[in-house]
Structures are given as C-alpha cells and as structure tokens.
Amino acid sequence: MRTQLFVALRSIVPAAVLCVGCASIEGFSANPRTACAGDPVTVAWAAIGNVTIGSEPAVADIGPKASTGSQQFIVDRDTRFTLKASRVFSCKRTEADVVVAPPAREYGGVAACSTVERAIALTVPLGERQVSSALKVSSVTNANPRSIVLAKGSVHATIPAGGRSAAFDREPVAGTWTLRADLAPGESCDDALRTVASRLTFRVGFGCGE
C-alpha cells in the first residue's frame, strides 16, 4: 500500500520536493557500550524529524525528545536503545546496544609492523565510549595465534598463543592497552602479519564487584 501511495505521489510531485519531507538520522550512540548494572549510559542523537527515544527493556524517561540532544539513562541489564525519527514522507530508525557485565569481550584491531622494532604492535585505548569505569578485569586471554606482550600502565605480561594471564586481574578495564608480537629471527613483517591476518586482539573477562 505504501508503495502504491509513493508511486501515486511520484506521479504528481517532483522527486526533489519529496525529500523535503523526509526524516534522516545524523548520529546515534549509547555509551559506554559495556557497562555494569546501575551505571549511567549517555544516549546522544541528532536527527531531522520528530524524535522518539525508546529502549528494550524500557528505562525511565524515554519518549519524545528534541531532534538533537543527549541524556543519561540508568541501565540494569542488557538494553537496546532505539531512535525513531519521523516526518511527513518517511520514518527512519536505528539502534544501539548496551551490554551489562558480559562474561568477556574481544578488543583490538588492525596492527602495524615495524622492521626497526622487529615487532607487530597495536595500541587499544578503551575509554568512556567502550567501557564503564566500574568494570574490572577478571582474566585476560591472548586471542592471537602467536605469543604477545600485553601491557597496561605499569603492568605487563607475556602470554602465549591462546594463553591466559592473571597479571591484570582487578585492574580497571578502562585505559590504554598495548599489544606487541615480536618477530621471530629471520621473519619478515609480511610473513608475521600474515600469521595474524594483520590483526592483534585480546579477550578481557569482566567483573563489576569489588
């Protein structure tokens, strides 16, 4: 039915005019994406149209909002925030998930190799977008198929491929982590990067208590 309505409108209204009445979403986020129960989560949005912030499960004070803004909501469990922007001719919707105290998450990304340092390295800053300041490390696992040196602040540990370390237990998850995988004697950067598909990652087990 909407298609037929649209086609009918297209026959009498130039296409350019239609877009004047279209909703659009310019931005949406819910941070931190990993939180502890009872944490405040900042939801920020920018849209064109009438905006409604929703959530599943429902949290306090969701509903119609200004077209641009931000607001803190308290989450007790995994929550999907939604943004709906509507205008005369269209309705747009998008979603952002916040996960409360998952067992673990994997962090990392595409790494660079230095022939001078003879190592593949990556820095992983975890800030307020990624994790709650209340989250603590319960374990760390080397997710790579080769040994790495993992460091955060003054703590560092050499972890074999697939191995775990307790060196970071009870440390805040938030902060800057560095990963380094040394080249083997005679190994080239290209060969080393191929073994890890150009990525370095690590898994963090989470805890929210003292």
Binding site: R2, D97, G109, A197, T201
Partner: protein, 443 residues
C-alpha cells in the same frame, strides 16, 4: 564430444547482494558437514581472519535467521573500500562493521553484515551445493554496487562505477553479441526488468523477453530449433518502482532471502523436469556482496578506465566473493571449484561455445582473462551424470516479506523508474503488454 559441445542451453540467474560467506560459508562449519574443499567459515572464535573491528571492539560472524533487515547494508565504491580496510597494501577484510555503523548509525551486538545464514534459511542453495557444484572463488567483477557489476556481467566493460538514476552507457551488450552470431537467446522476467536500463528498447520489446510464468510452458512447447541457447532469468527486484503480482525475490536486503530460495526452486524444477535437462547448464550467482562480510580478499585485477566511462579512478581489484552455484549433468555432485571466476567468465563461456574461442567476446574481457579470470567452461566435467536430484519438497516460511514495508528510495529504484518511463515513452502499448505493471507509472 566435449561437455561444452553437448550443452545446448545455458541458463543464467543473477540474484542480488549477498556474499559467499553470508550464504554458503556455513558449508565449512563442522555442524553442517565441515566441507574442507570449500573456503568458508572455520574456527570463528579464534581465526583472526574473521575478526572485524569497530571502535576497538572485535566482532565475529554469527548465525543469523532469515528475515527482514532494519537497513540495507552499505556497498557502494566508497563503502566497499572501508570494508576492505586496506593496510600496507593488503585488504584485511576487517571493516564491515565500521562501514555499517557509519552508514546506519546502528551499533548492535550482532551487526548484520557479519550474520551468516544456515541451511534452514537457504534450503535451495544448500540443495544445489550438496547435489551439484559450488564455485567458492567467484568474485563480483568490481568492488562497488549493483549497476557496475551487472554492466560487467552483460557487457564485460566497466562504464560506470556506481549506481545512479540514468540510462547506462555501454558497449558490447551481450544481446547484441549473441544476436550477431545467430545465437538464440531469451530473457525471462518476474516484474520489471533490469535490461531497459541499457536503453536498448528494441531488444526489450522484440519478442525475446517473456514473463517467467511462461518458463515451464515454453520449455515444454519449444521445438528443438526454437530452444534458446542462452536464457537469462531475472528475479522480481525489490527496487522495482511497482510490484504487480510478484513479491521481491531478488535477495536484496532489507528483504529476506527466503523468496529468492523459492524462486530458485521453481527455476530448477522447471528445468530439471524437462528431458532437455540432459543438455542444460544452470548458473546461479549474485551480482555483488551487498555489504555482507567475506573473509577472502578481492583479486588484483587492474583495468584501465574505458573510453566514455563516467568515472576517473580505475579499478585495481575485483569485488568480493559472491555465492555461485552450477547445476548441470556436466558437474559432479557435492563438489567445489576453486579457480578464479567472475561475471565475465560467463562472457568467456559464450565466446568459447558460440565463437569457438574464449577470447572472442571483447578486449575488455580478455584483459581480465590475462589476469587470471577463467572461463566458466573450466568447471565442467567431461562425464555426464544421469541422476536428476529432486528439488527439496519442504518450503520455508516467507511470511515476513508479505508484511507491508516502506519502500527504499535509492538510486537503483530511481533508475528503474526512469527506465520504465523511457520505455513507455518509446512504445507505450508494447511496453505495457510486456510489463503490465508499467500501467501504474506515468509516462
């Protein structure tokens, strides 16, 4: 007699916008048989090739039930570059979540580009994969979206690099090439066709275009000297400006894949129940990856910008892998072909079969051949099999697609609307006779 000589009809079906890993990657997973001959999904929790990064967090492929998506997935030239996430000159295939978040502003625990389907959802593709041949290194020709890749399939030349609302400039259109060599061809369409976008309305209204509803009866009634040597079968495009008796079954997100699977079953059933199946080759591919993850990097295939092209930056690689399935008595059951193919492999096949030389289509196609793109004849087995596996009887529910949906106003929809209007202007009476839904458009 060589297999290619024994094949009398080549049937080509080009669906829309799904990647190999998304549709057929499950074939390599242990719970679905763990096929080691297929380069699909393996060790998803640990293999670094499957790690996608967005904002420091790693996301990995997950099983996805078929259904309607909240958004279409990004797959234009710029977005594909993000997905490839080239580092040090090497595509890392790690940017699919990033491209999706940037396009949709949606950041969820299971980002749709990383979802993979399982046999419950792709029952017909699964049937074809288990009973016929998978090509696990069939790439979209270009790392961009629908129009350029379909233009490559039907001409071999990349005259455009993005989907826009316009009649597409082209040369070496496959219909002209086939007609010029006296090859009988036919195109079957559900609703409105993609081919009017080439502006060659004489072909469209010249009697070679039939409704897909005529497929089974044509097969039954064609005399031997009428049987088409090449058949193109088009799905009902979700981007069609008007739907008239067909729900979208082209597999293009946000629509689900279930209707397309039923469409493939209908085609296979019609073809394989005919005695002529013994001389038939059915090719089912997707035009491009549609924004879905695939872990295999595109092939380095450099092509200069052709004269008259509507872009300046040349392409240096293929697009991503797409699902490709070949059903024929001349392929072995449950096998996989690993050679490098793309849509122009079809044009090489036509050249080989109908001109006796795989280099006889065009210089543009030969340029790809010289860089390792093979003819589709490579997949054929010299021994014909006599069994004809029956299509699955169990259907999957597609009720979700029947729900009212908001049409996406994108460039492809605008382009098809434009093509429909131009076709009406060209010959309104014949256009409406060929495509009855066009009566709903203003000329």
């Amino acid at each position: 007699m060589a297999a290619l000589d024994q094949i009398r009809t080549i049937v080509v079906v080009i669906m829309e916008n799904r990647s190999f890993d998304h549709v057929l990657g499950y074939l390599s997973l242990p719970q679905y048989g763990g096929r080691r001959d297929v380069d699909g999904l393996v060790d998803l929790d640990t293999d670094p090739r499957f790690a996608n990064e967005y904002d420091q967090q790693i996301y990995r492929p997950f099983p996805m039930a078929d259904g309607r998506f909240l958004h279409d997935l990004p797959h234009g030239r710029r977005e594909v570059a993000i997905q490839l996430a080239v580092s040090g000159g090497t595509p890392t295939m790690s940017g699919f979540v990033r491209a999706y978040v940037e396009a949709s502003h949606s950041i969820v625990e299971q980002p749709p580009p990383l979802g993979y389907l399982t046999p419950d959802s792709v029952f017909m593709s699964d049937f074809l994969a288990r009973n016929y041949l998978v090509c696990d290194h069939w790439f979209a020709p270009l790392p961009t979206d629908t129009h350029p890749n379909r233009v490559m399939a039907f001409t071999g030349t990349a005259t455009v690099d993005e989907t826009k609302s316009r009649i597409i400039p082209h040369r070496n259109l496959v219909f002209d090439w086939l007609t010029g060599r006296g090859v009988r061809w036919r195109a079957y369409h559900c609703g409105f066709s993609f081919f009017p976008l080439f502006g060659e309305f004489g072909h469209i209204l010249g009697g070679n275009f039939h409704s897909v509803r005529q497929l089974a009866s044509d097969i039954a009634s064609d005399d031997d000297d009428e049987v088409p040597q090449v058949i193109f079968i088009e799905p009902e495009y979700g981007d069609s400006p008007v739907h008239f008796g067909f729900a979208p079954n082209d597999n293009h997100p946000p629509d689900p894949i279930g209707p397309g699977e039923h469409f493939l079953r209908d085609i296979y059933t019609a073809l394989s129940s005919s005695p002529r199946w013994a001389q038939t080759m059915l090719v089912v591919i997707h035009d491009e990856h549609g924004g879905f993850f695939d872990h295999v990097a595109p092939l380095p295939v450099k092509i200069p910008v052709p004269a008259g092209a509507l872009y300046q930056e040349p392409f240096a690689t293929t697009g991503l892998r797409v699902p490709a399935l070949i059903a024929s008595p001349f392929v072995r059951g449950g096998t996989c072909y690993r050679g490098n193919l793309d849509h122009t492999s079809l044009l090489q096949l036509f050249a080989e079969k109908f001109a006796g030389d795989r280099r006889a289509y065009s210089d543009d196609v030969n340029r790809r051949l010289d860089q390792g793109i093979e003819s589709l004849s490579s997949v054929l087995s010299q021994e014909a099999r006599r069994d004809v596996p029956p299509a699955p009887a169990t259907a999957v529910s597609v009720t979700q697609v029947l729900q009212s949906t908001t049409p996406l106003i994108n460039e492809n929809r605008k382009a098809l609307l434009l093509a429909g209007q131009k076709l009406l202007a060209h010959d309104r009476a014949r256009a409406i006779r060929q495509f009855p839904e066009l009566v709903h458009l203003q000329s």
